[in-house]
């Protein structure tokens, strides 16, 4: 039989689509920023844009709607939030690109001075409005250290104290 994608796994008797996104937040010492990449299945993102905003985005095709970036950004701002030292922090949505069946979204959290950092909290509700089973994995990496969270609809926030 065939399995769909790297992020799918078998369940019960056969292939079962696995609802998953993987977000990497890597601290860049050079820029004093967290460089964030979020990997989401294209099909899933397309479906949420359609159901939530009524956008037929045609992602990853030559007919991709020009407006789709605006809505992806808007969606992130609604569903993906970062708190630094207990306060909501502003991040920039830089854009997106495609790799196989995955869309990679690039975000950047600026002005982070590691010695001043006491805590960082990530609330990731991406696609939990569409799929109950959605899991959002977040890896935070800094100074060669790593901490990971698996966030779900009912438990959508991970907090890391430095």
């Amino acid at each position: 039989m065939v399995l769909f994608g790297f992020l799918m796994l078998m369940s019960f008797v056969t292939v079962h689509k696995y609802y998953l996104s993987v977000t990497n937040m890597v601290y860049s010492e050079k820029n004093n920023t967290f460089q964030i990449t979020s990997r989401i299945f294209i099909d899933d993102l397309e479906q949420v844009l359609e159901e939530r905003y009524g956008i037929d985005a045609k992602l990853a095709t030559s007919n991709e709607a020009k407006i789709s970036d605006v809505y992806v950004k808007k969606y992130f701002q609604t569903k993906f939030a970062i708190e630094v030292n207990g306060e909501l922090a502003k991040y920039a949505f830089l854009g997106k690109e495609y790799e196989d069946d995955v869309v990679i979204c690039y975000l950047e959290l600026p002005h982070i001075n590691l010695p001043d950092l006491q805590s960082i909290a990530v609330q990731n509700e991406i696609l939990t409005d569409l799929f109950d089973e959605q899991q959002n994995v977040v890896h935070i990496k800094w100074n060669g250290k790593q901490r990971s969270f698996v966030l779900i609809k009912e438990n959508n926030k991970g907090m890391l104290n430095f």
């Binding site: 460089q35 830089l94 854009g95």
Partner: protein
């Protein structure tokens, strides 16, 4: 000169620098305990079973190799209105083993869907602190599907009831006396079961319901009680069917009659015996055309005809009769909705039919690409293995699954309702068709045990899928435009890096049972396929690999190979020792990471180095006591003097000059190309898998030299190795694995001088700035 001293000096140069280094280390440390042979190049005697007369050390079947056989005669009836399947079968089982069998095991795969199935209970789960209402209702308020076999009777050849015991998905037949070696036995089973919705309930077999027209399209398999495999390796392979580990089945002949509504279109494993009864005259005419059409499919049932049939709901029945020889399983697909096309493919001296069955929901994609992909699969796979031995290969469109059976498979790839489709849908569809049709070779013919070793069919098949996709792209450039190569999702080395470089607590070795791995996709499909691709392109070379791979396929077609039979054959037919490769890639979760650690530059000198002076002082020697020596002075050490630069060795070493005058003719001396530059380069290997050390050296004049040191370079030191490079040109750059063909998980250490490697993030950010 003192003879003793001379001997001593000779020994020094014989034993070499390594022994000296070792001596120093041991002096510093406590004495280390001994150890077993932990060498990565140790032969796999402990992992492999001992060869015997059933399975030879060469990897070929041995002189006493045997396999059982099971023949089936079946009458099947589909009740379309109630989605039920009824059947009666007579099994004739041949005991070709040297053992007497006290009982027989029959597989009841449908029981995985029984209400009392243990399969849903096999995974742990915790209580969530909150549930959505829908999720809660699904989990705790809904009735489970009433699936599983209802066994009406099991009878012996004389019609007397035969005692049986059912343990989940396995049924033991308690035969009255043992079935002796060489004997055969016949028995009959009558059964029925409720057919599941394979789209919403997820399944390899079942129906898809189309609410717009009220029809179902059935893709039916694992639908009858099937004999388990008895072999020299497992005895009875009666490991339960839990859902992930697929199937192990003996070969045999099938005689099957399938009764369905008269307006259904049906195709199945085996040769159709009563075409005149079930085909219309028009279909017959088109079928004859299709048998002669080698360049494009001929439509046997058109979309218009299928759309008309959708509205019929005939109460009449029709029986389709098939015979199949030497197959390991049986499957069929049936619906009023099916469009049907076929074309012929030349296969040696005979023709094979490439066939597609699809509802109108699959068009226009299916009429464009399906049969084309089937034909390409037969061509490419046959080239690398053996000519496809059956008379047809069918690709059936199912909404969201891909699954294989002998001669027939189901594949996803559905366009949008308006008929448009994305490239993802198109490539997904072509790829899954190649994959599932390819399964005819592995495991339908090269019949490995899927229940135990998922990778043996999925990995080999995914590897062959990659080769076929690439050939498909070459043959149909217009289909893959604007890509210049088919965008294969698996196969290339770099694509497995995220998995192999990932969290070790969620990776299993390839040599694991499919039920017990964390991520079956990369574990049984992506990683073994990539390992074989790297083996072919980088380690063995295409010619040696292809011959060995073909040898394996031909040795084991219509037989039951084990992993060792594959591993042994690949060595046997190529003379490439691969134990290290199987160990690293298949038996461990190690990864590849090789880098360049450091480089030192040396000049030839007449003056003894500081190290040499110390050596002489320690042993009370002077230069006069020693034979004529040539010294290499490191650029950053005290031994270095600026006047050594830019000269050839015979200018800076008096000893060398004299040696050359004594031992070489004048012509020889003028012809010799003396290197000006000497480097000692240290390569390190943070990764566990030893791999060939592929190095690209770049010189000051811009020329490049590629040297591949065999993987065996790591056999005496698994952590780092040094190489001396002498050259007439100055070295300005070193890159390890320049074409990224080894799945090196960290390339930041692959270059000297160290390149500031930009992260994907930085590259993206630069690009958007323009």
């Amino acid at each position: 000169m003192n003879k003793f001293k001379y001997l001593f000096v000779s020994m020094l140069f014989l034993v070499g620098a390594m022994a000296v280094a070792q001596e120093e280390e041991e002096a510093k440390d406590e004495k280390k305990p001994g150890h077993y042979n932990e060498n990565k190049f140790k032969q796999l005697y402990e992992e492999f079973s001992t060869p015997n007369t059933y399975r030879s050390a060469s990897g070929a079947p041995g002189p006493d190799y045997y396999q059982q056989r099971a023949d089936y005669k079946m009458n099947i009836e589909l009740d379309d209105k109630n989605a039920k399947m009824y059947g009666e079968e007579t099994v004739t089982y041949y005991n070709n083993s040297p053992d007497d069998l006290e009982f027989l095991w029959v597989q009841l795969d449908q029981n995985v869907r029984a209400k009392d199935s243990k399969s849903p209970l096999r995974n742990g789960n915790g209580v969530n602190f909150a549930y959505t209402a829908g999720n809660f209702a699904n989990t705790y308020l809904s009735e489970p599907f009433d699936g599983g076999f209802n066994i009406e009777f099991v009878k012996d050849a004389n019609g007397k009831p035969l005692s049986y015991t059912i343990n989940q998905t396995m049924m033991r037949l308690n035969i009255p006396k043992p079935l002796k070696s060489g004997e055969q036995i016949s028995f009959s089973i009558k059964w029925w079961y409720n057919i599941n919705d394979h789209v919403n309930g997820r399944g390899r077999s079942g129906y898809e319901f189309f609410p717009e027209d009220g029809n179902r399209a059935y893709v039916i398999a694992q639908f009858f009680p099937r004999m388990a495999v008895y072999s020299d390796v497992e005895g009875w392979q009666n490991h339960q069917f839990w859902g992930s580990g697929e199937f192990a089945l003996p070969f045999g002949n099938y005689d099957v009659s399938i009764t369905v509504p008269a307006d259904h279109i049906l195709d199945a494993t085996g040769e159709l015996q009563n075409r005149d009864d079930v085909f219309s005259k028009e279909m017959m005419k088109r079928f004859k055309q299709a048998k002669k059409s080698f360049d494009k499919p001929v439509v046997i049932v058109t979309q218009e005809e299928a759309e008309l049939a959708e509205k019929g709901f005939s109460d009449k029945k029709k029986t389709w009769k098939f015979k199949a020889t030497n197959v390991r399983d049986y499957g069929f697909a049936t619906s009023r909705k099916f469009i049907w096309d076929m074309q012929a493919v030349k296969m040696g001296s005979k023709d094979v039919m490439a066939v597609s069955l699809y509802p109108k929901e699959g068009n226009p994609l299916w009429e464009e690409q399906s049969t084309k992909a089937v034909a390409q699969t037969l061509e490419t796979y046959s080239k690398f293995t053996f000519d496809y031995p059956y008379h047809k290969a069918i690709s059936v469109h199912a909404k969201n699954q891909g699954m294989e059976y002998p001669m027939i498979c189901w594949n996803y790839g559905r366009p949008n309702e308006d008929g448009t489709y994305s490239d993802r849908t198109k490539y997904g569809m072509i790829s899954v068709i190649i994959h599932e049709v390819g399964h005819n070779y592995f495991p339908m013919i090269v019949n490995s045990d899927e229940r135990q070793w998922g990778w043996m069919d999925e990995g080999l098949d995914t590897f062959m899928q990659y080769l076929t996709e690439q050939e498909f792209g070459e043959k149909y450039p217009d289909v893959i435009a604007p890509n210049s190569n088919y965008p294969s999702r698996r196969g290339e080395a770099a694509k497995i890096v995220p998995y192999m470089g990932g969290d070790q607590s969620h990776i299993s070795p390839i040599m694991s049972n499919p039920e017990n791995v964390y991520q079956l996709g990369p574990n049984a499909y992506g990683k073994p396929a990539t390992a074989l691709n790297i083996l072919r392109e980088t380690v063995m070379g295409k010619e040696l690999f292809d011959h060995a791979f073909k040898t394996y396929a031909q040795r084991w077609k219509f037989k039951h190979p084990t992993p060792e039979d594959f591993f042994r054959t690949m060595e046997d037919a190529s003379a490439v020792d691969l134990d290290w490769y199987w160990r690293g890639w298949f038996y461990t979760t190690d990864y590849v990471d090789i880098g360049v650690k450091g480089i030192k530059k040396y000049y030839v000198s007449s003056k003894p180095t500081k190290e040499m002076e110390k050596y002489m002082a320690d042993r009370n020697l002077t230069e006069a006591d020693l034979p004529p020596l040539v010294y290499l002075a490191e650029e950053d050490s005290e031994d270095f003097a600026p006047e050594l630069e830019g000269k050839v060795p015979s200018e800076t070493s008096q000893n060398l000059k004299e040696f050359m005058m004594d031992n070489m003719t004048e012509t020889e001396r003028t012809q010799v190309k003396e290197p000006k530059y000497f480097y000692e380069i240290t390569f390190d290997k943070p990764g566990g898998i030893p791999m060939p050390l592929i190095v690209e050296y770049t010189y000051a004049d811009g020329t490049k030299e590629n040297i591949t040191y065999p993987a065996e370079i790591w056999r005496k030191n698994d952590e780092e190795v040094k190489r001396v490079l002498s050259s007439q040109k100055e070295l300005v750059g070193i890159v390890v694995d320049p074409k990224q063909e080894t799945a090196d998980i960290d390339t930041t250490n692959n270059s000297w001088p160290k390149k500031e490697e930009k992260s994907g993030f930085d590259k993206f950010k630069e690009n958007i700035k323009g």
